[in-house]
Subunit: 337 residues, 4 copies
């Protein structure tokens, strides 16, 4: 942490800051400039709170030097983490494609979708049984019945299942049926839920909140890691901006940045980030070209009948075409599909 004093800060105020810093078990180095005095703080900087320091008399601002995450950091863990999921590995040379409908709607829809994405070459099945919906009047998902259908689809296709968990008390139930627990964008800072999945015996797919910085995403991963679960997959799914033609704005730079800052695997959701199926193909290819370890794509056998997010779902034929195109991109960046 570095403390920048106000121009008019008195000597007594400067001394007071150094005394406080030393009380916290750190060392203070004073640099007196022409216009400002700067105090560098040496020691284990993490317990220091920026807001604390900024409230001391004479302080203009405090600037953190260290990244606030540790277990999620590549400094701490230089090798890539590879998350094994019943025969599929996320984070290695081979790309992982997770596909399926937004929501589980009924047995026929799910089994048809599961078979279609399996035939297209997907490695895992997605589908929501508990759906976070902006409106209390929208379809909220089939709940446990949906989980049972997902388990049936897994038996039929052999594809491991990713599904969302929305509350701490749902974790045991969802763990019974799912191979990967998904934490949705709206819950990225639901700390009670992060705590619960951190203690669960399943890998976690953690989606970036639409309002969250890359640093906050890594801090939420840190919550899960610090509770003992080291099988975390990060997911970039678009952030909220002023642009109105797309549902969200995919932050493509987040892919190489996350790979640089962290050892955790990174997948991209081209469906939610754009909200338009016509853009899914271009954005999927971009994500793989940028270094993503996989994709999570909405595919619905009959999008115009979908109970949620039909406008962003691919038909099986488009998914098949996309998989062929991704093959070429994967090779171009030295990956396999």
């Amino acid at each position: 942490m570095i403390v920048v004093m106000k121009q008019e800060a008195s000597h007594a105020q400067i001394v007071n800051v150094t005394v406080r810093v030393e009380q916290m078990g750190c060392q203070a180095h004073i640099s007196e400039g022409k216009e400002r005095t700067i105090i560098g703080i040496i020691g284990n900087g993490r317990p220091l709170d920026q807001a604390h320091l900024e409230r001391l008399d004479g302080v203009e601002r405090a600037v953190p030097v260290l990244r606030p995450f540790k277990l999620a950091s590549r400094d701490f863990h230089p090798q890539d983490t590879i998350v094994p999921i019943n025969g599929v590995s996320v984070g290695g040379k081979k790309l992982v494609i997770i596909a399926g409908p937004c929501a589980v709607e009924d047995r026929e829809q799910l089994l048809e979708a599961a078979q279609a994405v399996k035939d297209g070459g997907a490695h895992m099945l997605r589908g929501g049984a508990f759906k976070p919906r902006t409106s209390p009047y929208s379809f909220q998902g089939l709940g446990e019945k949906g989980l049972r259908l997902l388990a049936e689809a897994r038996r039929e296709t052999g594809l491991p299942v990713v599904t969302e968990v929305m509350a701490p008390e749902q974790v045991p139930l969802v763990t019974t049926y799912a191979d990967v627990l998904q934490v949705g964008a709206r819950n990225m800072q639901n700390y009670a839920l992060l705590h619960a999945v951190g203690e669960a015996q399943r890998p976690v797919l953690l989606k970036r909140g639409m309002m969250s910085t890359i640093e906050e995403l890594l801090m939420s991963a840190e919550y899960i890691l610090s509770h003992g679960n080291d099988r975390v997959i990060l997911c970039e799914r678009g952030i909220r901006t002023f642009e109105k033609y797309t549902r969200n704005t995919l932050d493509i730079s987040a892919v190489p940045l996350l790979k640089q800052l962290s050892h955790l695997p990174v997948v991209v959701d081209p469906s939610h980030s754009t909200g338009k199926w016509e853009l899914v193909s271009a954005v999927s290819k971009a994500a793989i070209a940028a270094g993503a370890d996989g994709l999570i794509i909405e595919v619905h056998p009959h999008p115009s009948r979908a109970l949620s997010d039909g406008a962003q779902s691919l038909k099986p034929e488009s998914f098949n075409t996309l998989m062929a195109e991704l093959q070429a991109i994967a090779q171009a960046v030295g990956r396999e599909l």
Copy 2:
């Protein structure tokens, strides 16, 4: 809902849309323009899903006409809602000032703060026992011990207590001690929590998410209202923008807009929206001038020792000065303090 067809849409595609609309129990009115055909949908528009319609062949986009909230809407409930809380009323002519520390830290700090804000003229006490913190390494609050201290502070001062609840399973416990359940900004779209507080026997203070629209805030209020709890207080606390000098950007227009769109009372949090105590006074006065029904302000007896958010907390003397200034503003807009 209005459906705009693509320029090249065929007659068959237009007919298909009208057939679908009628299957949903609505009526379709076709208007053929030079460049586009538009289909107006009449009926109870709410069950229609925009994404559905946008996935039909030949459709360019669908535009919702009705606001998606109903119970929260002033159309539906023209009179102002007044929320009574143990002798305090939120939403009437009299403004309500809620003040206290960010977090309950210990008995001495809380009782000193409670007495100070009571002496300054506050009507309710705030203080967090469960703290949502970005970092798993930061102080997470005293939990139930903090709740017991809040109850003690209420006994000592007579001030009703507002405190945050972070997970559905905490609702019964927090309800035992608190007069108002606060749903924090990060949990504004935690639907399991909204469901739980919707069934609780306590008023709810619902904070706008830092990247949530006004419409989404009202939809989250709709969740609570639709589960039977009609004592909801809305709170504008700043949204996330590109500006870096402040922690968030207070959306001051949200105050008159929410009062126009909804019957629910609106309070403003000047502390979190700015993140700087020097700005709290100016922003508090602005909020009251814009028509807010109250404020929720961080006050700490010793901000430089605070375990969280010290930089945005007022000292008791500054709070006293602010209360005197607010008196004048309240009169100027025909309110009482």
Copy 3:
């Protein structure tokens, strides 16, 4: 400037940074921490370029310590600047209300509007002769004819005139007719224009760009000041966010922040920031309560016939009501109207 080295930075890389810093005429202070080495740079920090330093081998990032503006800074000029404009003073105890139509449309409209705002108590007249419009097919303003009408309205009412200048070569022409040159939000970083108005013999009203930071606004003011024109009035007019119910989001905190960081007067534009006349009154009162030195408000005698921005224009009666309400707020904050 503070330089944070990478964890793995070598001794040679650290030495290299210090050598470069000293070549630039500054001094380097090294602080070696457990996880990172930090280099504080002392001297006249402004000529240092952050990007330069960040490109040196082993550097993780560079953090500026000093604000990059000087002439616009209150550190440099502690007293409030008061801008005198033909008998009106902006920045003193008395508030200044600038009102009039968005665009000058014809003689009758302008004279009617000018008389109406004068009768309502306005101190200056606004009206655009050159209009920046998103579409090349929209009304672009009357040009010089509009300027002549503004001069006529000034003769009739005695109100000084504020009008926009859009290009360097228009500056001499607009200076002939106007009392204040307005630089619009879209031109806040049009440096050729800032240079030109910096050399003009007229006060300048500088509007904040809709996606500009407070620091960038002050840097644009610095351009004007550094070319010799010290009569600059800053204008907060709303920034672009994800919120869709309003045209822009008024950054109310910018008012006290700008007054704290700078000595220049600050006015607020409640019309463009909200885009809805129903919100203008509440937001105007908030701006004055927050410490603004004045307002610039759109008033049109017949908003539903306006050629631009009718939806955000007040009718004269609403303007009169607002002026009465502002009187009370002005008193409440120790100002006069």
Copy 4:
């Protein structure tokens, strides 16, 4: 345009809207729903102003149906536009790579950079002689001397030159030396400049403003096209968001969206969008995979000595590596490099 009336709108207010619409030469179709009356407006919708209609009594809001751009629209011009520039074609099957330093600094730097990018396989040379800089104290470019050096570099390498023009009065001068006139992000809505380059005899590279929507970018292109210049190249260079690790957020979806909405070629600037040279390679590959027609990349022979934007410039060796990698991506998407 569709007009949504307020719930309480009277019959007379509805009739009034239809009368006004017909006065504007359009037809009005009324649809009466249970909760709202909707008026569809048929005719040439472009001269209608949304703000006008929203100011009529009883109107809740007006919703535009048609895209406001025409000449830039693919509806109007279905074939891809290909812009020929002295032997290079932008917009065809062959990708175009524009590379060079941010600013022209001196003869040696420019000629070294030009030769390096030519050797690496670039098709055009970039370099700024007039530099828009946030601070009046930063290097503002060499001006005409820089233009002469660019012309010399062209003679030496045969590469056509792209350089920025910042003001209408600079257009004739820059046209003398440059092959393509660049309009920078900060000037995207400088309408006087758009008008001037619209009349110039040179192709224009139009950068998206960091605060601008895709629709606004196309409207700015429309300005240029409507003044007679149909050789416009669109450039996505990142937008401003709340994310702090990158300078801007590249809107990757803008690439396929612009290609769908418009016939104009689209290039991507990976240097300004990220602000970090380490991310340039990943983002460049993503842009080509998403369908961009080319890239504009900063390359500097000695980035740590650069007078501007050194942190985002590639060294020649990194540029060479990137070109080889792009070759593979180009093939994978059926393009040539």
